[in-house]
């Protein structure tokens, strides 16, 4: 035998490791990003690298976050990322860092360009502050988070380094919803492969985040993280020992009750302690259900008033409602409840039959899952809306009470698809009631968030969620965002091959937005949509239907305005 040839390079361990490291380093190099120059490395993390750069067109300083090459390797993670970015880019709040632009660098690494904030991290900022000033900062954080939550964005990775305090002492939240966009269902391991980042975020993660099922994580994970941050700000410590191994820290987050903060800092009052422990409950259902609730209690603490956390959540609310509506008769309320159940169930069944038609060619198993879901939704609505009334018995419970009680239990459903449909249904019902815009808002944004997280949501459901969110926004006076959401809804209805009446309805609502915004180019874009809307209404309802007449008038006004410009 001749002496064997030298082994190929990949069979020589040292050479292979060198090549692997070179590949890893290449991923850390400074990329070329069109439109930006003078990239200076700021920090590196598990997900990618942050650079300070100059935007060429206006010499503005921006922060560029450049992700690792393989961060979004599959199409579904890429899509999730893009959806999330789309939502985040619409956040406009003084305490949230603006996202300007995103794309791919010359080496195909995805990047985000955002506002650069000079300032200190929350950890450094709170060192010199007293309790009242800390609460003041947290109220700002709550306000910003509430804005994001209502628009379907959860932060998911709140930690001191993601909360900057600017030179004027105001909070600026960073890295919204981007922190762990890659923890997609069906792709375990993505999150941890971003090594440093994960370990760095661990102490602020909620128990449900550590369980790793992204469907379990909702806005209440942010409430939990705020609890850890506030605990730290007031005591200088974590609620449990996190200086141990990763495994021990995970165990502590999941099982160890937080040490009473007053142990570490006697200045922490009993009320603040109650607020903190409520945020830090292991079970999401036992926390504040929204940052708004947390903010209310923080404001109570600041004003020296009694806090809500002491009271018994649902039972208390029900009692108040029952007392308030004592005048209503049992007969009336039960009829209303029956009506609601009937209407919701019929809406669901109608939608279901349409879905079934479209799904005729899809796999049988998908149909079965869909049918199961509808059955679960119906069972829930019947059980929770009728059930509580029977249990309450002689007390007078109004429609609102029944809706509230039923809505409060949605979170107990494990299937996120069912939860999404329920939230979407409740959003519409609360929109139909006077003075319940906050509840409608919460359900609409939760529905949207849950749909966004589904791998392949049905277009018509998605459209439904966008539409209810738009209605909420429009009533809150945010016509511009409502306008965007309606265009999204329209796109989804069209993609779903949905009923023309849905399309006409969205187009009519769009007209309300455009009149509120009163910008010339929007009238121009609206005109053909209104023509379509009018056509649909005339075909479906007749030329003389009042709805068609109304749209005819609106169309006339739109044309007058276009001509005037």
């Amino acid at each position: 035998m001749l002496e064997s040839e030298p082994k190929p390079w990949f069979q020589q361990p040292d050479a292979l490791v060198e090549h692997l490291r070179a590949s890893h380093r290449a991923d850390s190099s400074v990329p070329c990003v069109d439109g930006y120059e003078d990239l200076v490395p700021l920090q590196r993390g598990g997900q990618g690298h942050v650079f300070v750069a100059t935007r060429i067109k206006d010499a503005k300083r921006v922060a560029l976050k450049v992700f690792h090459q393989d961060s979004f390797s599959s199409r579904s993670t890429q899509r999730r990322f893009e959806r999330e970015i789309h939502l985040v880019s619409r956040l406009a709040h003084p305490n949230i860092v603006r996202l300007f632009h995103w794309g791919a660098a010359d080496d195909q690494r995805p990047f985000l360009a955002m506002e650069f904030v000079d300032g200190q991290s929350l950890g450094d900022a709170v060192e010199e502050l007293d309790v009242d000033a800390v609460i003041e900062l947290f109220l700002e954080i709550c306000d910003a988070l509430g804005h994001a939550h209502r628009r379907g964005v959860i932060h998911r990775d709140l930690k001191p380094s993601n909360i900057r305090v600017d030179s004027k002492g105001h909070v600026r939240l960073l890295d919204f919803g981007l922190a762990k966009p890659v923890a997609g269902a069906g792709e375990p391991g993505r999150e941890l492969s971003a090594t440093g980042e994960f370990i760095g975020s661990l102490p602020w993660s909620s128990p449900e985040q550590l369980r790793g099922d992204p469907n379990e994580v909702d806005t209440r994970a942010d409430v939990y993280a705020l609890g850890v941050l506030l605990y730290q700000a007031l005591t200088g410590r974590f609620p449990y020992d996190v200086d141990t191994s990763v495994a021990d820290t995970i165990h502590a987050i999941e099982h160890t009750p937080p040490a009473p903060p007053s142990l570490h800092n006697p200045a922490v009052s009993r009320d603040i302690e109650t607020v903190l422990l409520r945020c830090l409950a292991k079970e999401p259902a036992r926390r504040y259900q929204s940052v708004h609730e947390l903010a209310l209690d923080l404001a109570h603490v600041r004003a020296g008033e009694a806090i809500e956390a002491r009271r018994d959540g649902l039972g208390y609310a029900l009692r108040v409602l029952i007392r308030r509506h004592r005048i209503a008769s049992i007969a009336v309320s039960l009829t209303l409840v029956a009506l609601v159940v009937f209407l919701i169930v019929s809406v669901k069944l109608l939608r279901h039959s349409r879905t079934m038609e479209r799904a005729a060619n899809q796999a049988l198993i998908e149909k079965r899952a869909e049918a199961d879901k509808v059955a679960a939704v119906n069972e829930y609505l019947l059980g929770s809306l009728v059930g509580p009334n029977q249990a309450v018995g002689v007390d007078n419970v109004l429609l609102v009470d029944a809706l509230d009680a039923a809505a409060a239990g949605i979170s107990s459903r494990s299937d996120p698809a069912v939860r999404a449909d329920l939230h979407a249904a409740f959003a519409f019902w609360f929109l139909a009631l006077p003075d319940r815009l906050d509840a409608a808002d919460e359900h609409a944004s939760e529905a949207l968030r849950l749909y966004e997280e589904q791998v392949a949501p049905d277009h018509s459901y998605f459209a439904w969620a966008y539409q209810s969110n738009a209605e909420v926004l429009l009533r809150r006076g945010d016509s511009s965002l409502a306008h965007d959401f309606l265009l999204d809804a329209l796109g989804h209805y069209r993609a779903a091959g949905s009923s023309e009446m849905n399309i006409a309805q969205v187009e009519a609502t769009l007209a309300r937005c455009v009149f509120a915004l009163d910008e010339p180019e929007r009238y121009v874009a609206l005109e053909p949509l209104l023509v379509e809307c009018l056509g649909i209404l005339r075909t479906r309802m007749g030329d003389d239907a009042p709805q068609a007449k109304a749209i005819e008038d609106v169309l006339q006004q739109v044309r007058t305005r276009i001509a005037a410009h």
């Binding site: 490791v17 692997l20 490291r21 080496d107 195909q108």
Partner: protein
């Protein structure tokens, strides 16, 4: 003996789709996804700026599309490494308008690779990149994390073990297992493409 490999059919689809019609847009995207980083990497090694790398990739794609009917890639004649090298170097010299000798397939037919050759460097990175992208789907998170901290980032084994709450032995094991798999993956990729 020579079942058409996936990259061979991909190259064929660049100029004509599977029905024999015009260029296949999907194939272009797939090619860019698979070999774009390689060609850009080579361009940078040859001193090109970012926008020039874009042009290079564009030119390679165009010449592959145009060349295909007459100059069909034949897996039996030469390996993909040599073939892509030829096309890329030609595109580069054309775009630079330099007197760089046009390279023919015969000129680069010798597969014995010089490790310092920029093309060889880029080509090896191409295989390594592909292997790294696969690992995340094959190993448990902790193993990948340990490998990443210890081998790729060059941290101490003890530090890695402490960070992850695992034993030092497990860190060594993670290195051995992952490295062995990388060797297999790269080996398979080289066997296929050269």
């Amino acid at each position: 003996m020579h079942a058409p490999s996936t990259h061979a059919s991909l190259l064929a689809r660049l100029s004509r789709d599977e029905h024999g019609n015009g260029p296949d847009h999907e194939a272009w995207l797939e090619f860019e996804h698979r070999y774009g980083p390689l060609i850009r990497d080579y361009g940078r090694r040859r001193g090109l700026q970012s926008s020039d790398c874009d042009d290079l990739l564009q030119n390679v794609l165009l010449s592959l599309t145009k060349a295909m009917p007459a100059f069909r890639y034949d897996p039996d004649k030469g390996r993909l490494r040599s073939y892509l090298k030829t096309v890329t170097i030609r595109s580069l010299s054309r775009s630079r308008r330099q007197d760089e000798p046009s390279t023919s397939l015969e000129d680069v037919g010798d597969p014995a690779a010089d490790a310092d050759d920029p093309w060889e460097q880029a080509w090896r990175q191409h295989h390594v990149r592909r292997a790294l992208a696969t690992l995340g789907r094959e190993f448990p998170e902790r193993t990948i994390t340990a490998f990443s901290l210890y081998v790729l980032e060059g941290r101490e084994a003890a530090e890695t073990a402490e960070l992850l709450g695992m034993s030092i032995d497990s860190v060594y094991q993670a290195k051995t297992r992952v490295l062995r798999r990388v060797e297999e993956l790269v080996g398979a990729s080289v066997a296929q493409e050269g």
